[in-house]
Symmetry: C2
Subunit: 656 residues, 2 copies
């Protein structure tokens, strides 16, 4: 790897093949220089249809413009212009982290431009970049919230100021632009700012970190793009400093920003969920680049404990409203679940990094669950309204949010166009814009398909080019056809993930059908162009129960179908009765019907006692028989105010 350099354009630090030769880096959000799998870039995977293609189209056609509109309207983009004019003090708009939304929009636009090549989008990127660049100080400093006449001085509030956090998002935008369009003005802005950070926070600089992790993975990625090792070293400094009480005491405790214990010593993720995800992602990036197996193992252990004890059925992370934080083990209440959309995005980023590093399909399992049930729940189908939090139990009819103003982040049961703290829309936008890069990976021997969507996958293996075409109506159907369009003459390994819930799956190749277990099904042989491999995943709807230690959902069952968690909404109950009156019949399996999944049960209208506690009642009264059609949780709240449940009560100690 090249050392720090002052030349204006940088060698790509790409993936090294077995001979040590650098190959061109793929255009993807995470490009480690080593690991179990290498990512495939935007040029290698194209999603050609199905729900994920629809999400990418809507993102391009509606969300990017919607976000840009609100950034202008709220003055968060204008902050940069005012800074350039030296007029910021009197006019600054938004919270201390508003710059980051501009950077996340730039990142989303860069990935989308990389996908579509749209010249108009390219021009918009250049225009915003120019406004950002104009606000940068001569020494590289860049913030519209600090360090100006009338504002607080630079680095004076590391706990809450988000200066380094914002720069992290800037770097991720610059990385996305560099990987999709080459070195341009945005990367120059990034390296000037990053060089300043390395001076100010270097070994002899301010011995502290940012209250919100984000610059850690961003610096590693910037190192990967530029080859400047000082960025990697600075990321290491930030990661190793945190946990030693380098930040001040805050009301939520130091665990809030993971400054309570060193990352190598922690055993579970804790504190603010988004912060935990970004920090852990940075740690994986660092561990991979430096070959630090101890650090990687520490993060893996934390991830395992978090998934086993602190994660919602949806993949949602962070149950607490007060501090947007993880609760204690098994404290996962469905009502008032926080499950921030951004924590879902962060969890996808972490799981993806772990998958690249270690190859274990469990990472792709959680990633899929989180994509389908958290990230995809965030935005409306129109791509212009968003959930910030994702409750799993809506007890009261929500109010329709004001469509013409930014709303508090967790104010309603319906999606809102913008928030006073509006991290989620831009986070979803950058995820959808680069969604195809999560579909498949490669290694020396072949290709691994992790996510199933109509798509083409084309990559050059040491043995030659492998081109695949995936045909599927997944997740509506469990049938996945992989058509081999081009293949080397030599044997390659084609691996298909079998999700953990897919008991009874089969793989058909060469006319032979064989059962495959959850994990990975691999065909290792010479593939013949024109042949079709068929993976059949059982997406029959199923009941799911929680560990008894998840007290909040004891005596309930959820219904899942394939990777999707389902829910019932009051609009789907007779007379729009309250979902809390529905009691599920656990002895009648859920059934696929035309417009959803049918369950049987009873409606139990509860009496209203003056005091809700008393002698244990007898068994439930039978109640009025009822059927209800469940729909994917991600689609809820698209038909007006409704009550909603994911976990449905089963008969037990009865009504009173």
């Amino acid at each position: 790897m090249s050392a720090s350099t002052s030349t204006p354009s940088f060698p790509h630090v790409g993936v090294h093949d077995s001979t040590g030769t650098a190959v061109p880096a793929p255009a993807a959000p995470v490009v480690p220089s080593r690991g179990r799998f290498r990512p495939l870039g935007i040029g290698e995977v194209v999603i050609t249809g199905g729900p994920w293609a629809a999400r990418q189209s809507t993102n391009a056609a509606a969300t990017l413009a919607h976000v840009e509109h609100w950034l202008e309207r709220e003055g968060w983009l204008g902050n940069f212009d005012a800074t350039a004019r030296g007029e910021l003090a009197s006019t600054r708009a938004g919270r201390e982290f508003s710059d980051s939304e501009v950077y996340k929009l730039l990142e989303a636009m860069a990935w989308e431009h990389g996908r579509s090549g749209d010249p108009e989008l390219d021009a918009r990127i250049r225009a915003i970049t120019a406004r950002v660049a104009a606000a940068q100080n001569a020494d590289g400093y860049l913030s519209t919230a600090f360090g100006r006449p009338g504002s607080a001085r630079r680095w004076s509030d590391l706990e809450w100021g988000h200066e380094l956090y914002c720069l992290g998002h800037l770097f991720q935008a610059g990385v996305a632009r560099a990987r999709t369009a080459g070195h341009d003005q945005l990367l120059t802005v990034c390296t000037r700012a990053a060089d300043l950070v390395c001076e100010v926070f270097g070994p002899d600089g301010i011995p502290s970190v940012c209250g919100h992790p984000e610059i850690e993975p961003a610096l590693v990625e910037l190192y990967r793009v530029t080859g400047r090792r000082r960025y990697l070293e600075q990321a290491a400094l930030f990661l190793e400093r945190r946990g030693h009480h380098v930040l001040g005491e805050i009301e939520f405790g130091r665990s809030y920003f993971q400054d309570d214990q060193p990352i190598r010593e922690a055993t579970v993720l804790r504190g603010h969920a988004v912060r935990a995800m970004y920090l852990s992602s940075g740690a994986v990036d660092l561990a991979v680049e430096t070959g630090d197996e101890e650090l990687l193992a520490a993060v893996v252990g934390q991830w395992e404990a978090t998934v086993a004890r602190r994660t919602y059925l949806t993949g949602g992370m962070g149950s607490r409203h007060q501090d947007e934080a993880f609760g204690e083990d098994f404290v996962l209440p469905p009502d008032r679940a926080y499950s921030e959309t951004c924590a879902g995005v962060g969890s996808v980023q972490l799981a993806w990094r772990l998958l690249l590093a270690q190859g274990d399909p469990r990472y792709a399992d959680l990633l899929e669950r989180t994509l389908y049930n958290v990230v995809d729940t965030g935005p409306s189908r129109s791509g212009t309204a968003f959930f910030y939090t994702n409750t799993l139990h809506q007890r009261v009819l929500g109010t329709v949010p004001d469509q013409d103003s930014a709303v508090p982040r967790a104010a309603s049961s319906l999606r809102a166009p913008w928030f006073a703290v509006s991290c989620c829309p831009t986070n979803v936008a950058r995820t959808f814009a680069s969604l195809q890069t999560l579909v498949a990976t490669a290694d020396q021997d072949g290709v691994q398909v992790h996510q199933y969507a109509p798509s083409t996958i084309t990559t050059d293996l040491p043995a030659g080019r492998l081109a695949l075409r995936v045909r599927t109506a997944y997740p509506a159907s469990g049938r996945v056809e992989v058509v081999v369009d081009e293949a080397p003459d030599a044997a390659v390994a084609l691996s298909l993930r079998v999700p953990s819930w897919a008991h009874g799956a089969t793989l058909t190749e060469g006319g032979v059908t064989r059962p495959v277990e959850p994990g990975t099904a691999t065909a290792t042989r010479v593939l013949v162009p024109g042949e079709v491999l068929v993976l059949d995943l059982p997406v029959t709807p199923r009941f799911t129960a929680a560990d008894p230690r998840v007290d909040a959902v004891r005596g309930t069952l959820a219904v899942e179908r394939g990777p999707q968690v389902l829910c019932v909404e009051s609009v789907d109950l007779p007379g729009e009765q309250h979902v809390d009156d529905l009691v599920l019949d656990p002895d009648r399996a859920p059934e696929d019907v035309e417009d959803g999944v049918l369950v049987h049960g009873w409606l139990h209208r509860q009496a209203d006692p003056a005091w809700p506690y008393g002698a244990p009642p007898g068994p439930d009264r039978p109640g009025e028989p009822v059927t209800a059609v469940l729909h994917p949780y991600a689609d809820w709240a698209n038909r007006g105010p409704s009550t909603m449940r994911v976990f449905l009560r089963v008969p037990g100690p009865g009504s009173r």
Copy 2:
């Protein structure tokens, strides 16, 4: 009633008998001029033994000095001295509401001095009063947080400033002092401040309210003591203004300080629980003084809905950490229950006012439940350490709080000596100091005993003096003996509350035992000195289940005994196993044993799956048979760090 007057001493506005003649006001915290029952003052009821006498002794001997020590040590008392010296700006200590803790200490000391007559305590009250008085401005303004050089100007932050809130606590202290020691300097400080408030916030003044209700009941009480009707009118102004969005928008929404809808229109208590309790108490006070049945009915309806759907088994109110607020209906998670000690104190105040106004024993029921299970849980037995929040499920071993510094309010599972926000210790202190006034009431016809403790009750009825002596080991025993020491020659009505849980209670009088139903058992006849009435309440331990809509405790039972909620702590399980591993046998009734209540069950050590959701398991494995001894919830966390549960899981869908 007398109009506003400038004479330095005031006629007591006491209870009016049927002829309209004022009788001397009792020395008690709430003295309405009308209502179903009249309160009995400190001179009329004496608690002579049992747990409540112990609480009063400890409060007098330890808590008052402990609080005074911390108020000095933290500088919250010194703020008054610095204000008097004009040196406040550079030295002010504590939060914006720290003055209120000084006032609540004064109130507690006043009630305790009224009880004991201790001259040394009288001197301490006078000394603190002098320091407070010295900080008062010439125009009556009094605050150490606002309106001084270097601090924000007066009334400039009604949402969060707590200026009027602090004055409310000042007035309650002044009222306590006036009722127990007559008119002294403290009352003069109060009326000077109250007159200023009436000028500044009167009909033509600032048309707003305080973000934290408290001055409303305090002004009505000050009116009752002074006869100055303008205080009553000002309380009415404050109460009627709130709810019309007179305060600014805050992150938690206007319901936080009950400014979302007018009190006459609300149907349930909502927002910050302590604020809701104080506001409702003020509304009852106003409604009673003005004969406003509509307002009273509105508060009663809100109370009923809150008790039916938003109250913990303990009587605890406010489930949410984020804003110390009520959750939606039936959102009552035992883990991370907030259930602030002060909300319990406020609930006692509200229930007591409603009992005086309407006489319904359900108010005394909730009051008893809250006293035994929230207020009594707050302080340690030593009276020098406190809970701010009262969780009903402790999942992890807590840490021992620093005994030498103020701690965050909800930081540990163990009681702490002081908090940065330290409202609870002083609130408990004033409640315990006046506890005897909650025992009994009177009306024209007789006496009503609401709470059972060894005590003497002596009051003058129209028919003559009635003197009773209560002998009991309640709540350890359910036997309550009421000895008639003195009685009029005419018939009187002696009413004894039969708690709602006391099915199978009996009353024995004149050698005859008869069953009595929950509610009230009354003997209406000529009582004979020397006779003993015996109320026998069944305090057999019992299982209690929650309404199925309290999702968080589905599939569990709690154990209650008399008015006490019990709990299990890990220190009482074999090998100090985790309480979450205990499964209760619901078919074996809980039994009284020497040191608590014995339950039978099994220990189920849970497996630790990588993902805590899966196919519904079969019935619970039998597990290892075990017995556990439960203790009153109020006594928990007195034996070091422990896990704890109130609601115990019963067999159901099993372990995996």
